[in-house]
């Protein structure tokens, strides 16, 4: 099929412009889904094969047709949208998550063969793009229509901004000619709305500069500290027609408009850092976002092992330093206050004094590509302006081999103590038999992922929720980069978790970047009953694309905030839901598999059933774990609501 022919129509001037009808959008968006339906679409049915009722849930045949259709390279004459899509392809944009709207751009990107998915809510799709970035380190895009589709994404843009994710936000924005008129619907100024939530933004108003501004966007996304970039596209730009590259005043290969060079540490600063580390008795490295995005995990391991420096993780994703390594201090919170020199590497979201557990006498080295941020919040002793990978490689080469055996032993003892605390929580949780305690979920989930039949590095995990997260994170371990997506992170948004899981599952399905060895593996996500309300409809999206996601819902009938109002009869009900809500039934109604677990002894078997469905049917599941809100009350149900110590496996705010 000549998709280019179908993707365009003629305007009154005889020029060819993209067909932007909604019907065409739906068809074209599916065409770019790449391998999305590889495991999916042979039967077209979601429900059990034997269900032949006329009204059973089924996937439309168009998904299979889209899957069979190969992208066709578009050449000049090209529309503005097509020029932009070509640039995205050449820049390696790894995926696009969208809802209907912004049809010229979405269609053009899909037709370039970039995996393109459409969901139920622009916000959830923007969370999906964020999730994709956070488990791959690659750039992903989110798109919505002008006005409401764009503003639906605001919370997700803010969350991605706090997480320092390289999300490319694309939104259509009607026509410049209608500016300030309220003609038609959905007009709005977009760029001021994302002020403070992005690294760079631009309304594209000059069609012939579309390639130039695309270059601006990717320079921002791929350098320094990543954060969202927001471009909005008026119709005059996306529909503009260019007969040749000469019509575009700026149209260069990316080698001409950006560099891959990275900042390296200055010799004097490097020497100061080495001196401090050599003097330390109890040094520690905090590995955060920048280690992941600069792919510095090998250099980190080399430095840590050569100088015997323990490593603790923080950040929006974890797993850069394996918890298998005896130098991992992720699960040793009580040892952190002993560190005398702390080297923060790529810690973009900085804690303030006292938020990390390191003591007041600790000295700090900070490695960051942006000099303007070094010294913010925490005073430093040495600052290294550098790409994280370059700094770690230089340190690994220059540091002498060292031994800190007593310090490593202290961390091992702290780790043992922490695991004993966790086991005590589990024993206590098992004793509560009339509902599922979070300690039971945490322990048995960890055993399933790390101590059972699965290779422990296999499962990509989305750690969402509120109270439940405080139990689950204590058990989470990372064994390879991109394994743990650390929930909404510093912005603290409720409910992005199914969106994140969707994005992570797309990354795993396509085997993008560090997910390549685990291609096709199921993704597991934990969320709460408050959170699931925000993005549960994306289980329909996961069902239609047959993404093997297992969503575990901790259902305690309440917002996590209820306990603060427990002594206030007037306001208490503001924090409660109906009891025993059947999220599993909702999931079934959306094409997923549902399980309802009401006793602690039933959780493990439900998880195993869901995993089998994920593997055999490539189908999502939801496990509705019925708990009770009183589990947060320590006096009634020890250990009650748990706190956190940062950095390490519990860290979430930074």
């Amino acid at each position: 099929m000549n998709q280019n022919r179908h993707a365009n129509r003629h305007n009154g001037d005889g020029d060819t412009v993209p067909d932007v009808s909604r019907r065409k959008f739906i068809t074209k968006a599916m065409a770019g889904a790449g391998a999305t339906a590889a495991a999916i679409l042979t039967t077209g049915e979601v429900a059990a094969a034997e269900n032949t009722e006329a009204h059973s849930i089924r996937i439309p045949d168009e998904f299979a047709q889209a899957e069979k259709t190969s992208p066709v390279k578009v050449n000049f004459p090209m529309s503005g949208a097509q020029v932009f899509a070509r640039l995205c392809k050449e820049e390696g944009l790894a995926a696009l998550f969208s809802c209907p709207g912004n049809y010229p751009v979405v269609n053009a990107i899909a037709l370039e063969g970039i995996p393109t998915y459409s969901g139920r809510h622009e916000g959830a799709m923007c969370h999906a793009a964020d999730g994709f970035c956070r488990v791959t380190g690659e750039v992903a895009a989110a798109s919505g229509t002008e006005g409401p589709g764009f503003t639906d994404m605001i919370n997700a843009i803010a969350t991605a901004n706090a997480a320092r994710s390289p999300v490319l936000v694309l939104a259509s924005n009607m026509a410049i000619v209608n500016e300030d008129t309220e003609a038609g619907i959905q007009l709005g100024y977009q760029q001021p709305t994302t002020e403070g939530l992005k690294k760079y933004g631009k309304r594209l108003i000059t069609a012939k500069r579309i390639h130039e501004y695309g270059g601006y966007a990717f320079r921002q996304l791929r350098s320094g500290v990543p954060r969202p970039v927001h471009l909005d596209f008026p119709a005059e730009v996306t529909r503009a027609s260019f007969k040749s590259a000469a019509d575009l005043e700026y149209f260069h290969d990316k080698a001409r408009y950006r560099t891959t060079a990275k900042p390296h540490p200055g010799p004097k600063d490097l020497s100061a850092a080495i001196d401090l580390l050599k003097q330390a008795q109890r040094p520690i490295i905090v590995s955060s976002n920048g280690v992941f995005y600069s792919k510095a995990w090998d250099a980190l391991k080399k430095l840590a092992e050569k100088a015997q420096i323990p490593v603790v993780e923080s950040g929006a994703q974890k797993g850069q330093f394996s918890d298998d390594n005896p130098l991992s201090a992720n699960a040793a919170p009580s040892a952190l206050a002993s560190a005398d020199v702390v080297m923060l590497v790529g810690q973009y979201c900085m804690p303030t004094v006292g938020e990390f557990a390191f003591g007041p006498d600790a000295k700090y080295i900070r490695v960051d590509p942006c000099p303007e941020d070094i010294g913010r919040n925490l005073p430093i002793d040495v600052g290294l302006v550098s790409c994280e990978k370059a700094a770690l490689e230089a340190l690994a080469d220059a540091m002498p081999a060292m031994k800190h055996d007593a310090w490593v032993a202290e961390i091992a003892a702290a780790r043992k103590k922490f695991e004993e605390e966790n086991d005590a929580h589990y024993a206590k949780g098992l004793s509560y038999t009339d509902a599922v305690h979070p300690a039971v979920i945490a322990k048995e989930l960890a055993d399933f992922m790390y101590n059972g039949k699965l290779p422990k590095e296999q499962t990509t995990f989305v750690a969402g929720g509120y109270g439940i997260a405080r139990y689950v994170r204590r058990r989470l371990r990372g064994y390879r980069p991109g394994q743990i997506l650390n929930g909404a992170y510093q912005y603290g948004a409720i409910g992005p978790d199914v969106g994140y899981a969707f994005g992570a599952a797309v990354a795993v399905r396509h085997g993008i970047s560090v997910q390549a060895p685990y291609k096709g593996s199921p993704v597991i996500c934990v969320t709460g009953d408050a959170g699931i309300g925000y993005t549960i409809m994306e289980l329909e999206t996961a069902s239609k694309y047959r993404l093997p996601i297992i969503v575990i819902v901790y259902n305690n009938n309440a917002w996590g905030t209820w306990s603060g109002n427990s002594r206030s009869p007037v306001t208490m009900s503001l924090h409660l839901f109906q009891e025993n809500v059947r999220y599993d039934k909702v999931a079934e109604g959306l094409g997923a598999h549902g399980e309802y677990v009401t006793q602690p002894g039933d959780f493990k078997a439900a998880l195993e059933r869901c995993y089998q469905i994920a593997v055999k049917e490539s189908r999502p599941s939801l496990i509705n774990c019925q708990a009770k809100k009183e589990f947060w009350v320590k006096q009634q149900y020890e250990p009650g609501f748990l706190g956190t110590v940062e950095p390490g496996c519990m860290s979430y705010n930074h």
Partner: protein, 153 residues
């Protein structure tokens, strides 16, 4: 001698201010220091060189003397002397002694310095208070939310 001890305390505290750990550091009158530190709270540390006592005054509000939290805090503080702790984390009873007091539900933390080891004492009480807040974050998050406006996720 008392002046010398006070100077040692003053210099030790000033070093934390110089490093940016304490902010807004000032000696409001002789032996009485104020600074902004953990959870962006203003704290007050006093030194009584006659009794050899360093004290974080009125550090923790909202802790009734009869509450389980206060009992647990007292126990936690005494554990800072535990020989099982590494030397760099332990308060050596030969050099200093930790205690606390509770007036109308407001807890103060004290450290009695022995043999005029004030530099040791300042270092230990500052680290002890830091560790106490880490402990509260870990074991009593609701307390910090209610009394220190610590953020809920």
């Amino acid at each position: 001698m008392a002046k010398g001890s006070l100077n040692v305390v003053r210099a030790s505290l000033q070093s934390y201010a110089d490093r940016g750990v304490f902010r807004g550091f000032s000696e409001i009158k002789s032996g009485q220091f104020k600074f902004v530190w953990l959870l962006h709270r203003q704290m007050e540390l006093t030194v009584d060189t006659a009794k050899h006592v360093l004290r974080f005054k009125q550090l923790l509000p909202g802790v009734p003397a009869s509450s389980p939290l206060y009992a647990e805090l007292k126990s936690y503080l005494q554990e800072r002397h535990d020989r099982a702790l590494p030397d760099h984390r332990r308060v050596d009873r030969k050099r200093a002694e930790v205690s606390c007091s509770n007036r109308a539900g407001v807890v103060s933390i004290s450290l009695t310095v022995k043999n005029k080891q004030y530099a040791y004492g300042v270092n230990k009480i500052v680290n002890l208070v830091h560790e106490l807040f880490v402990h509260l974050r870990d074991a009593h998050p609701d307390y910090l939310v209610e009394n220190f406006d610590a953020p809920q996720e």
